[in-house]
Assembly symmetry: C3
Homo-oligomer: 141 residues x 3
Amino acid sequence: MTWIVKTTQFDLDTCGSFSVVNITEQVRDFVRSSGVGEGQALVFYKHTTGAVLVGEHEAGIIADWQDMFEQISPLNRPYLHHFKAVDFNGYAHLRSALLTVSVTIPVVGGDLALGTYQDILVIDDQSDPANRKVIVQVMGL
Amino acid sequence: MTWIVKTTQFDLDTCGSFSVVNITEQVRDFVRSSGVGEGQALVFYKHTTGAVLVGEHEAGIIADWQDMFEQISPLNRPYLHHFKAVDFNGYAHLRSALLTVSVTIPVVGGDLALGTYQDILVIDDQSDPANRKVIVQVMGL
Amino acid sequence: MTWIVKTTQFDLDTCGSFSVVNITEQVRDFVRSSGVGEGQALVFYKHTTGAVLVGEHEAGIIADWQDMFEQISPLNRPYLHHFKAVDFNGYAHLRSALLTVSVTIPVVGGDLALGTYQDILVIDDQSDPANRKVIVQVMGL
């Protein structure tokens, strides 16, 4: 029995504007090939205009999330960030804070211990298409 | 000094409808019996209609959380999820995303390093009573 | 190669009222001196009226976050918590739940693997100035 830590980085080309990328299978492949039987998988989004979310990957739910955020943090409000910075993505910084950029999933029996309806979703809400980096790190025995 | 990882699963029968179950003592017992002196306890809710939350277990606060979510994501909105799926829990998928299904708590001196008012709460917001699985995993030295 | 776990606690004197304290450099120093090359840094806020957030430390964004929370969970609502407890910080318990008290950041190459615009921010939203404890724990190889 050896303790293992393995790290990788995914490069995702997203369309921004609340793009949802389901990375469950990629994370699962990495976990399965890591040699870790029991431990944790950390998924970390390296930007400030999106999030990592464990939830159900269903088109209706995704549209409902967008509707909710359009109520809480609409695209076209004159955010103070716009006056202080060079970009127009104030809404995305609000949504990223309400969601989170870091999620840890248990690894059991050499596999992700996700529930039946749980997927690992990267939400990218930048105002334009962008290349996004997500770190995945598996640690355990 | 040996590195340890120990995993268990709690089965909770909840009433749904924003049921709050305080699992602090169960998690604490597991941490204390794990043999880990310094490390981390991961608490992971295996569903998409609820959350794990570290917060104060006080009846007024719980009612205030419900009021807030009834503003943000009311029970009776015609969510798109309802037209695409066979269930009527669209609100719960919104709340689960705003909260989170995964929380990590430091273990120090063989015990949970929680603050005075912090409890580990499972919130289940399914539309009906349900059996819910929560994974608790302790890792460390 | 030795497995390491190192824990420290930061004491922060904050002004409450949505104080934002940027602890990135302090966490980075702790990570660099820990001897961990590859692993994870856990940042855990030990209170129920604030949060830890990985986001951009920019004055406009901070003001936008405050505006958003003043919409969702205004300071002056007659929260039920106020009738059941001895304090008047109901809004802060709502915001703490929407954010989170626990964030894990990957450590790669002996350093925090943060993105260009990511900082580690402690938000303290108590109604009065307060001393706040934040646990930082580094674990890995």
